[in-house]
Symmetry: C2
Amino acid sequence: MIRDAAPADVEQLLRLIRELAEFERALDAVEATEEDLREALFCSDSKVFALVAEEAGAVVGMAIYFLSFSTWTGRHGLYLEDLFVVPEHRSRGVGRELVTALAVRAVQLGCSRVEWAVLDWNEAAISFYEALGAQAMGDWTTFRLSGPSLAALGGRPDS
Amino acid sequence: MIRDAAPADVEQLLRLIRELAEFERALDAVEATEEDLREALFCSDSKVFALVAEEAGAVVGMAIYFLSFSTWTGRHGLYLEDLFVVPEHRSRGVGRELVTALAVRAVQLGCSRVEWAVLDWNEAAISFYEALGAQAMGDWTTFRLSGPSLAALGGRPDS
């Protein structure tokens, strides 16, 4: 069953985030706390959302997403920040159900696209996404300003 | 002068969006109308925002952005969808001022990162961003579901 995440899912969502980061060889990079997720996902003016796949009362998969915007189409899109299905529940269509639920939501919201980023060595994910009809945007590279570089350019806030 | 865009800027913003798309060899892809931009940027619950660079009453540059989210840091980021400075006003620091203003905003909002995508052949942009301290996320590829593929997976909305 795919449904919107609820505040009671936060502990399990963080567990899945940590499992995904471990798979991506970046577990050390996870600083997020349950409090961070609760605030971001369930505040009154939330800008980030989560779908969960539930089986027998347990969260076995998740899709965390936010709204993007395309200046070309003049319409919003959905950006899939994290997609994860716990290993014991793979190969049973849960991932496909999560992406399909997100695509349905995108169409309902009038969005022009759903996008996400994949690690180049994650061949299983790439095959899965291509089978869904997704296209690699191979001629674009993402740049990031973070940590000391962001602090140097953005300074420290006054308040 | 860098300031938040106002509804009266919409015509000039669309002109800049079209100029950027032309530079990116994709002018045909611009379907956005002034009405689309006005609604997206200035509705009461806007999810996309714009900074403009103004000189002598004319908009000579823009940065269009929205809020992203990092599950690793548990914090929002800013995603720079479009950065553009009109050719006649380049090499005078306008682009740097726009990105700096965005970095300041990111720090003020407690964001962990500012990200954007660059076309691989746009060497001038890549040099500019690297000089600002940005890092290429070279091991990630963006995938996109749009057009017929999105419609096939997401179906048609009931309402």
